[in-house]
Symmetry: D2
Subunit: 337 residues, 4 copies
């Protein structure tokens, strides 16, 4: 940690600040320039709240040298984390594809879609039973019934299932779910994150609409610091000023997160764009960028979907996209990396 | 609702779409231009999911004519909502000031701060017992003990109390709290919003970091649609590219929300700026813009605060700010409006 | 300047970096921590390009301690700059109001508007002769004829005139203009800024749509470093994700710029909101925030305006707004500051 | 164009508005709903200023059905534009690579870099002679001397040259340049765009830091409407809240622009990320997304570069990146499209 002191600070004030810092069991090193003084901290600074330092009247600016996350940090865990679930892997050099409808709607529609995505080569089935909708008047999901239908779909297809939790009071219902998803709007629902940290279950954590990558990693750290290290990070588009797409896919998040963390990285091109015709090109592009997995919305009949139809692929579109996705996966593995 | 049809759509497709729309009990009116066809919908369109319309292959664009919220809509409730609690009012022409520490830390510090803000003219005491912190290693709040201390502080000062709920599993602990605050990170925690909608307790709802004003109103609608109409909206800064301030205060939200809704509007200059020296000018400015209330962080000793010290005022600074705030309130009431 | 060195850097590499830095005539001070090394620079670092430092392979991060602007910096020029032009002042405790149509359209309309804004108490007349329009098919301004009409309007009303320059090839046409405006889209047209720096004429510099305040100050520095210190800074809304307003007024820019610079600060509530009904409340609010001047679009008949009609006030609306603006000015001067 | 009328408008007002619209030689069709009336316009609406419509007191909202650009619109020009220059092509199925230093610094450095990028397989040489720098105290480019050096480098390598124009007063100096670049900060320098529209020279137009894709296309339209149809669009990262990268690469711009326009699309991964280690992965990813060309900064010795060193590749890094880029190009052409 580096602390820049204001011009006007007296020697006494600087001395008092340094004494306070010594209370955190770190050493300090004062550098005196013409217009400025800087304190460099030596030792483990994770217990020092950067806000508390900033709050001191004589402090101009503070900067952390080390990242404030440990468990999620590649620096301390150089090897890629590979998450195994239901006979499938996420991370470690293979590409996994999670596909299925935005919402679980009816048994018939879910089974048809599940069979179709399996046929097309998906590895996991997704489907929302609890739906976070902007409007209270929109379809809110089937709840427990949706969970039961997903479990039934797993039985029929063999595909492990991924579905979103909206509140920790529903946690018991997720006992038989393979991967629990935390949506963008809950990325900083810290109570939920901690509860999931005490489960032995993979968590797919979506980046908030305007969350920085460091905040995403800090949310992963919340889960990991409670003991659960099976965290999968998901970039699903960030909110910008551009109106043509629902969100803006931050594709550079893939190589950047790869440098900073050992956790697997998923791209969700459906929410990232909100536009059906952009899903395939962005999915292929995400594979080229090095994503470990894709999450894609597929619906047996998008125009009659109860949510997110505009960004859902038909089974035929998904099958066609999967051919390109798998071809790109092979090319990257065999010729690029 | 206005639906713009793609050039290439066949008459049959347009006919099928119109038939589908009639199923929602609305009338349709087709306008044919040279390069485009437009369907105007006549009747109550709130039950039609705009996404579902957008998902139709032949639809170029859709636009709602009416706002998708009813309970929060000034159009249907022209009179300002005034919320009375603990002998104080929020809304209806007076200015309320909510002040206190970011976090409840110790009994001594809380009581000192509570007495100081009361002395300076605050109407409500705020203090966090459950703290949503970016880092799992930062102070997370005293929890139930913090709630008890707040209740004790109310007893000593007579100030009604405002504190944040982070998860609905804690709801019982808030039985004796005057105003329950929902933080920016939970603005779209819909399960929590619905649960609060079934309480008979005022809810102070903070705007999410990148939430549009319409999304804020839809979150208010979640609470109101369950029966609780005591919702207070709070603008606390939005996330932009500007690094000098923690967030950017969207001051035009005050007159804009005033036009769109009858609910009271609070400004939080502390979180909006994150910079102590900007809190007073932005508080005064918010009063001039017509805010119904202010929420300001005050700490007996900001430099030793356990959270958000950099943006907290000392009691002396708060007292000085309150003089200007009250002067501005008087001026606006007597000479401006 | 503080330079944070990567873990893996060898002593030789660090030595080489320090030697390179000494070439800029600064002293270096190396602080060694457990996981990091930091170099503090002592001396005048303005000649060191921060990008060049960042580019060194062994550099983790660099941070400037001092602002990279000198002429615009309050640290070196503590007294407020007051700009006098045509018998009027901008800065120094009075509030100036610049008003007029978005575009100069016809002689008749301009004269009517000019007389109306003068009557209502405006200090300066604005009007666009060269118009930066998003579409090449939109009205582009009257050019030289517009300048001539402005000069004529000044003759009739006595109000000094403000108008926008779009390209330095037009500079000669501005010889008789009182204040030359640089629009948001030209804030980083550095060739134009330098040319204006060699004129002896006040420049009203608008903040770019997504420019940081430091970038705005660096653009002011471009003008000032060429010798012209008569720069007026204008906040006119920044681009965010919020769709209800054309831009988002960053009102905290007023007290923040006040701390950082001695230059006068103008708020343009018309462009900041793009909504006529928000112009008055935001203008009043800007006065409360401490702005030195306002720039407001007024049109004799907004609904027939050739540009920006939606945000223009009628003379009657402007007259009514001016009463509140002047009342707020008096209140702030006499009772608040 | 669809115009939504406010509830309270009288029939007379609506009639007056429709009469005014008829003056633009379009037909109107009024649709009356319960809470709203809508006017659909039939005919060519490009001459109607959407702002002027919005400014009418009785207008709630207006929406264009057709894009406001014609020359750049794929709807009217279905075939891809291919730009041929100096024996090379941009667009039409091949991938072009533009590479070279951020700034032209010395003859020796430029020649070495030029030979190196040619050797590695680049198609065009880039280099800045006029440099738009945030600070007036930073290196501003060699100007005419830089242009001369570029021409000399073309002679030695045979690579056509791309360089940025900052002001139209320099236009004569660009007579012998192959592709004139307009930087992000000048994307809406409309005077410059119009002047370039009257040249018979390809223009590489960079997207502004916070420009929407439609605004980028409107700026292209400025050039094209003056007669020059050789416009190349460049996405170079947009400004967001994410601090890890200099900008955020909006990769979905590639397929989106492909749908909307026939103009070639370039991706600049150097400015989009600002981080050397992200340039190669983002370049490869841009090829997978379907870009027609890449623009990459290469410097013989990035750590001593006079500008943008942090994002420049060494010749060795560029050579290695080119192998992957060309492999990806082949794969996409032969197996994906």
């Amino acid at each position: 940690m580096v602390i820049i002191i204001k011009d006007k600070a007296t020697e006494e004030q600087v001395g008092e600040l340094m004494e306070w810092l010594h209370g955190f069991n770190v050493k300090t090193n004062l550098v005196t320039g013409i217009h400025s003084r800087i304190i460099g901290l030596i030792g483990d600074t994770t217990s020092i709240d950067i806000d508390a330092v900033q709050a001191r009247e004589i402090v101009e600016a503070v900067r952390r040298v080390q990242e404030p996350y440990k468990n999620a940090n590649r620096r301390f865990h150089p090897d890629d984390t590979v998450i195994e679930v239901g006979g499938k892997k996420i991370g470690g050099g293979t590409l996994s594809v999670i596909a299925g409808p935005c919402s679980v709607e009816t048994e018939d529609r879910l089974m048809q879609t599940a069979l179709a995505v399996k046929e097309a080569g998906a590895d996991f089935l997704r489907g929302g039973a609890f739906k976070p909708r902007t409007s209270p008047y929109a379809f809110q999901g089937l709840g427990k019934e949706g969970i039961d239908l997903l479990i039934q779909a797993r039985k029929e297809t063999g595909l492990p299932i991924v579905t979103e939790i909206m509140d920790l009071s529903d946690l018991d219902l997720f006992a038989d779910i393979d991967i629990v998803q935390v949506g963008a709007r809950n990325m900083q629902n810290f109570t939920l994150l901690k509860a999931l940290g005490r489960c032995d279950k993979p968590v797919l954590l979506k980046r908030g609409l305007s969350a920085t990558l460091q905040e995403l990693l800090m949310s992963a750290e919340y889960i990991m610091s409670e003991g659960n290290s099976k965290v999968i990070l998901c970039e699903r588009g960030i909110r910008t000023f551009e109106p043509e797409t629902r969100n803006t896919l931050d594709i550079s998040a893939v190589p950047l997160l790869r440098q900073k963390t050992h956790l697997p990285i998923v791209i969700d091109p459906s929410h990232a764009t909100g536009v059906g015709s952009l899903v395939e090109p962005m999915a292929v592009c995400a594979v080229a960028a090095g994503a470990d997995a894709l999450e894609i919305e597929v619906h047996i009949d998008p125009k009659s979907a109860w949510s997110d139809g505009a960004q859902s692929l038909t089974p035929a579109q998904f099958t066609s996209a999967m051919k390109k996705i798998r071809a790109m996966e092979r090319f990257c593995r065999e010729e690029l990396r």
